[in-house]
Amino acid sequence: MPACAACTIVSGNRLSYARVLARSFRACHQDIPFFVLLADEPVAAVDPAAEPFTLVTLADLDVPDLPRLRFHHPQQPFSYACTPWLIEWLHARGVDRVVYFKQETLILDDVSGLFDRLATSPIVVTPHLPQPLGADGAERELNILLSGVYNVGVLGVARHASAREFLTWWADRLRYDCRHAVEAGLHFEQRWVDLAIAYFDGVHVERDPAYNVGHWSLPERAVTRAADGRVQVDGRPCRVFRFSGYRPEEGDRMTTYNARLPWEGLGVVRELVRGFREALEHDGYWETREWPYAYERFDNGVRVAETARQIYRTQGDAVARFGDPLSTGGSGSFWRWLHSHPPESDLSRFWKAIYDSRPDLQGAFPDTRGDGARAFMTWARHSGLAEHQVPEAMLTGSDR
């Protein structure tokens, strides 16, 4: 294995992002391999040998209780939760310096500086904002405090004892808590990294904005083109550009996360966005986006509702008895348990969890036995399915 490697993580239906990122990286660094973890089941249509990267599968990693982890989180958060595992896997295979880029990224110029920094600092993080905003910037800074001081779309981790501690800790926290719940202090995998600077030796905060330009920093950054056509930020080479929240379906829109970024005022960024879309399309965006995510449904075809994931997460190690939670066969499956009734109610455990989470429903339906349960299920059919984005099959526990 080489001393340095770059990597990203995608599910099958986001494979075009990995292709575009890997190609852009290789254009700048032909000597550094690029690895892509497929956070999904292998896709028959993909020939690893034909890809511009080295494909890593979940089966390659040493993730304990993988069926549980992939059930804890839906598609995107699951891919985020795999980040420490992929980096650790690369370290275990002898890679000394790993730089992870989140999938919606273009490498525009030499990023050797990140690898070089890892020679002296085992963990390299990039802040969303490398300097205070102006006097009227408090609200934007508060938004950053809610989503994480550091943007983990670019993260460097060297093979080092301190970094190993970091990865072990991060993987542990992400097993259950890789969700968007800002009121609880969570923003997927990202908020956790705010603690890393206090916990681990050798955290370097890379404040050069050229290594992570995204929608959050565009109001302060001048993105231009030099005479030779290279993209610059604040007059210096722009090395990493992030398209966080960009969706080709949205057309001329930089990101779904920031409605205050006017397309008309984006200048060179508009060219980058359009170029990124063309690159995605060239690399099969419209085809791959239709590929099903393997862990989205129970094996009877019913989509896994977020409430089911929540219930599963709160059961802790007791879920071990269910085996693979996506498997619905047999009386001991999670699916069967979810549709069984707790002793105190005629509602299934699934609907009882929704009932317990909502004081308004408890007021409206004080009794969850007999007629009370039937009345509740009438609400569930007419309103609950839509309000909680629940598949209809969860009304009866029947297969699709």
Binding site: L142, R173, I197, H204
Partner: protein, 411 residues
Amino acid sequence: MSVVRGGVAICTAITANFAAFARVWARSIRDAGHRDPLFAIVTERSSALGDWNEPLFTSVPIEACGLPDLTRQTFINPPHELTVLAAAGPPLRAGAGFDTAIFLDSDVWVLDDLALLVETAAAHAITLSPHLLAPLRGSDRAARELTMLRSGTFNGGAVAVSNRPEGHRFLEWWLGRLSTHNRMAPGAGMHHDQRWLDLAPGFFERCGCRARRGVQRGTGIFPSAASTSGRAGRRSPEARAGSCTLSGFDPARPEVLSRHTTRVTRETLGEAALLLDAYASALAEAGHDLARTTPFSYAAFDNGIPIPLQARETYRDLGQTSARFGDPFATGPGCFLEWLLSASDEPGPGRGLPRLWRAVYDRRPDLQQAFADPAGVDRSGFVRWVRASGLQEHAIDPALAMDEGAATPPA
């Protein structure tokens, strides 16, 4: 403030009823062998302090600190928030004449040499103190770390700034943010002064810091040596310096470590619980029983009516348009209090209620459900609620209660 050029200054900020805490704080620093000048910014009116003099520290009234927009700040901030603001302000400004200014909360009890903190502070532009130094263990590890993520990676009770450009830039920024966003609102990303500190390592340049835990750049990270509100739980083995932050400790209830946590009890503290007894004794010797009764001198309008928190928040939300009232503490024609008690003319179900009670009504869905038309057909019921419950629930003086008659017409 008397200015000593060069060297280290150690400072704190208190309201007068925390005087005993500052005395114990100062005594503990002296007992640890430090001879640096000690300052306590007292967030009270000079007129209320009289000739207050302390043998161990210099008490500086907030009026002498050059805090921008002082009258507004003393009105919008309740006592705790005002001391937090004072902490970020002039006492920490290295420009006040010191090479290094170290702020320690008044409930910090220094138990050992602070040399490591002084050394770290001198070597960095900004020195911060994390709540936690290493990943937690135990079944509640994630939940406890999430609590920290909501309240701040760094503890605002121990911050040092040195006389470097980055130190000055940090203080300008921090004070600016606290001037407008200094309250407890974790859902909005705020935890008084504290959450803002999380941004500092990303914002400010390195300046010759040395490598140690978590430090590779300009923001020094100093290990809190012992329990912070019982959250760190135990002394860090690598911490040389010793200080104990007893945030939320009430000497009247020494059996409780902190009002901020129920997780750590006297039993779980073991021998460390003896510290609580000793601290309570020290506070008693320092005159806490008398000091704690001292009223906050920014607590009332000039007619003596206590300022409710809702009035402070309403004034804050007016922003710079509040300037038309002049001194918000003053009462008389055209004053803020008169406006506050006049009928609201903003559209909505609460239109016509006194603005003070309209603000209360607007923030409470339960009241909106119970009194759909509080200024009309439900007015009697709403007034009954105000008198029976509202005054107490919102700590509002009866003089500001509304009656069943029509409110004063909009001003």
